[in-house]
């Protein structure tokens, strides 16, 4: 019997039966993006095969909402911009320091920066990164306001 249990245990080594915590957005700052369910296990992997699953049961999440976050003083009406910054803040920060990227392009588009002025805009954001992302606890509203502040400076 001992031997049997040993074998069963062995087979289960890679198999972690605790499974799937739902994904959720948490917060309005860095690292607030969706977090995956814990499916890096064997059985988790198998189960994912059979689901192609979406976790979270929101059906038409056309707007993701930013109700839990502070509102910026600028672009108050631009819900889409705010949602985008909340959901993509980490990649936006990375694109700003690198000076290019799809997230940065989207951000510029939402701010209505004409294409021919983007290069200049990106350079400016890059140079003022420290003044935009002032702390690791920064939130969406401050990011937007700081960007506006930097852009209006000469």
């Amino acid at each position: 019997m001992k031997k049997f249990l040993f074998t069963v245990l062995f087979v289960l080594i890679c198999v972690n039966l605790s499974f799937a915590t739902a994904r959720k957005n948490s917060g309005c700052g860095l690292g607030a993006m969706l977090i995956s369910p814990n499916n890096d296990t064997l059985v988790g992997n198998l189960a994912m095969t059979f689901l192609n699953g979406t976790f979270g049961t929101q059906t038409f999440g056309i707007t993701t909402g930013t109700s839990e976050c502070d509102k910026p003083t600028h672009f108050v009406k631009n819900e889409r911009l705010q949602e985008f910054v909340v959901a993509n803040m980490d990649n936006l920060a990375k694109d700003i320091v690198v000076g290019k990227g799809e997230t940065l392009d989207s951000f510029a588009e939402l701010l209505n920066i004409p294409v021919d002025q983007r290069k200049e805009f990106y350079a400016k954001l890059h140079d003022s990164f420290m003044r935009i992302f002032t702390s690791e606890n920064i939130q969406m509203a401050e990011v937007i306001d700081n960007v506006v502040l930097e852009m209006t400076k000469n």
Partner: protein
């Protein structure tokens, strides 16, 4: 027929006048006449037989008529709607005349807006003769999404999860924004209810879960697949016109909050996405191309064959990005990245170090570190607090170095649809301990470790229901039946240490073909590691196995063992595989197994492979050898 219908209409006319009086107080008389007129026109035009009506209601032809795939009663206005296209059509026309409640959005003309728009066009409906209805909810969402074009999205397979090899497809609706991140994703998926994985699997296969269509910003989906699950994404831009995309959206709106039972093998994500494409362009036939099962990548092939794809775009995952950026860094300097990530050196030290590191190297080290920090945060290797702190530190340091002007050009691997087809027929001939045999095996899905990796992921295998027959001179029998046989060898990288593993279950024989050698049931799982050195993938696994059947005196045997092997892929032209395995079974029937095998496979074209294999084996005290040549033919 038409004449009879007209006569009937004339005969019915007196009734109409009679009702005129009846309804004149409660409801306008002209309404009644108009409703009657529309229904008669619909009958005359046989609209219930129209292909578009069948697309909108998801009808499929059965032996005795039609049946809709949709299981939700809310979707049908007629009680017989699921099986009766005509009664559904007539009830739908009726419903257009309903006096709206205070919430117009629940009115059938808003709820089933694609049906309404289509019938309005077909029957020339004069809207002024219908009660006034304002679909404000629809208008809001439509304006926000503003769909102008669409793409079919295929998140590819991710390392260490052959489960994802089966793939997934979704749609993307693009508006006026240039950046595709600002588009919307439309997804069909199951709503899981339990959190026990095995129940998931069971319920997913047998249709116990409800599937629904969902929509969300595309950037959320990109993060889910590209960043969190490390899957490259393939985007197939469709050549649908704005008008066609609008029709798709109208139909999508009808499907909002409507469920249908989810069946993993056929009524799955990819299948249901096809209905939306047909609603956009009814001239194409997609649904009927699939009979028994629907493999996501096959739906892409069909969509391409129907001439719907304009352009293919590759979106690298976080994993691919890290590998790409790392290629700018000499290998011996990659440990600096790790030290930076785990905090043993600070980003400022990198900035100052202009003697050992070039400017480009400093830029890349900081950029890679930022990606790896994200990667580690997604895999929960580091806490949120630590992540926020280090991530920002690294980015701040990077912001003090200039912008890197050159574009990152990723060389895209072969796209998934260029891989071999999903089903396979294998025919072989060989010698087993001096006895000649013929081999035949049929497998609906999907890819095994000896097959061509083009379009698939190297070191992975996903096999479902592989039936394997053998024919010796005097006997023909089922040699083995693999229900599931999945392998994932994901080699160690300097930045990640993922597990390699295998799991398989099914029926097999010990291989004493001329003695008592009944089929037994087995479950076998193993885990270990793999590495890719000099383009050879080597692996090592610790295995555990439980086998049950009458072939064993005690009806079962259980054991553990070790296995190692090497795989070499010669530029997708041929592949060599050598494995060595030993198993010790202390439980039930005590025995041992030793096995050496060598396989060589040549890839003649996309769907044709030819090879040979040699196996030497010792089980109990029984020695055997097996040499065979084989042909693999892939088809759909």
């Amino acid at each position: 027929m038409k004449f009879l219908k007209r006569v009937r209409a004339i005969l019915l006319l007196p009734c109409v006048f009679l009702f005129w009086y009846e309804f004149s107080l409660a409801y306008s008389d002209t309404t009644f006449v108009y409703k009657y007129y529309l229904k008669e026109s619909a009958k005359r035009l046989d609209l219930h037989k129209d292909r578009y009506w069948h697309i909108l209601l998801h009808y499929s032809k059965k032996v005795d008529g039609y049946e809709s795939f949709i299981d939700d009663a809310k979707f049908f206005l007629s009680r017989e709607g699921k099986k009766n296209p005509q009664s559904e059509l007539l009830e739908t026309i009726d419903s257009f005349f309903e006096i709206p409640s205070t919430n117009h959005n629940d009115h059938p003309r808003c709820r089933f807006i694609a049906r309404y728009e289509w019938l309005k066009e077909k029957l020339n409906i004069d809207e002024s003769k219908l009660p006034e209805v304002k679909c404000s909810e629809f208008q809001d969402v439509f304006q926000r999404v503003n769909p102008k074009s669409a793409s079919l999205i295929f998140p590819s397979f991710y390392p260490n999860s052959p489960a994802s090899m089966f793939g997934h497809t979704l749609l993307r609706l693009e508006g006026d924004f240039h950046s595709s991140l600002l588009a919307y994703a439309v997804n069909y998926s199951a709503i899981p209810e339990d959190d026990f994985a095995l129940i998931y699997t069971f319920k997913g296969i047998f249709g116990y879960y409800k599937g629904i269509y969902t929509a969300m910003p595309y950037y959320d989906k990109v993060r889910e697949y590209s960043d969190i699950e490390r899957r490259d994404i393939w985007e197939y831009n469709l050549n649908l016109t704005a008008e066609e995309v609008k029709k798709m959206f109208l139909h999508l709106w009808e499907l909002k909050d409507i469920f249908q039972f989810y069946y993993f093998f056929d009524e799955n994500c990819s299948y249901n996405i096809l209905f939306l494409i047909e609603a956009a362009r009814p001239d194409v036939n997609l649904i009927e191309k699939f009979k028994f099962w629907v493999i996501p990548v096959d739906t892409i092939r069909v969509v391409i064959e129907e001439g719907l794809v304009e352009k293919i775009v590759y979106r690298p995952s976080i994993y691919t990005r890290i590998k790409f950026l790392s290629s700018f860094l000499p290998e011996k300097k990659s440990n600096i990245v790790l030290e930076l990530v785990n905090g043993s050196i600070s980003p400022e030290e990198i900035l100052k170090d202009d003697k050992y590191l070039t400017l480009q190297e400093r830029q890349k080290i900081l950029e890679i570190s930022a990606e790896i920090l994200q990667y580690k945060y997604f895999t929960k290797d580091i806490s949120k607090d630590l992540y926020q702190k280090r991530y920002l530190q690294v980015l701040r340091a990077r912001s003090q170095l200039p912008i890197w002007e050159e574009e990152n050009i990723f060389s895209a691997p072969s796209s998934p649809e260029t891989g071999h087809e999903s089903a396979r027929l294998k025919i072989g001939q060989g010698v087993y301990n001096g006895n000649g045999y013929l081999d035949i095996s049929i497998r609906p899905a999907y890819h095994d470790i000896t097959n061509n990796d083009r379009g698939y992921i190297e070191g992975s295998q996903i096999v479902f229901t592989d039936l394997h027959f053998k024919y010796f001179r005097d006997k023909f029998f089922l040699e083995r039946f693999d229900l599931i046989n999945i392998i994932s060898f994901s080699p160690f990288d300097y930045f990640s240490r993922s597990l390699s593993w295998r799991v398989k279950t099914g029926f097999e024989r010990k291989g004493f073909y001329f003695d008592k050698d009944d089929l037994y049931y087995f479950v076998n799982a193993g885990c270990g590691m793999s590495a890719k050195i000099l383009s050879i993938l080597s692996y090592m696994l610790f295995n555990g196995s439980v086998e049950m059947g009458g072939v064993y005196k005690k009806n079962f045997s259980g054991g553990i063992g070790i296995e190692g092997g090497v795989i070499k892929n010669f530029r997708n032209r041929s592949k060599t595989l050598i494995t060595l395995e030993s198993m010790y079974y202390p439980l039930g029937d005590n025995h041992k197994l030793y096995k050496l095998s060598f396989t060589q496979n040549f890839f003649l074209n996309k769907n044709l492979e030819m090879g040979f294999s040699y196996t030497r084996k010792k089980v109990f005290s029984h020695y055997s050898y097996d040499f065979g040549v084989l042909i693999n033919y892939f088809f759909r």
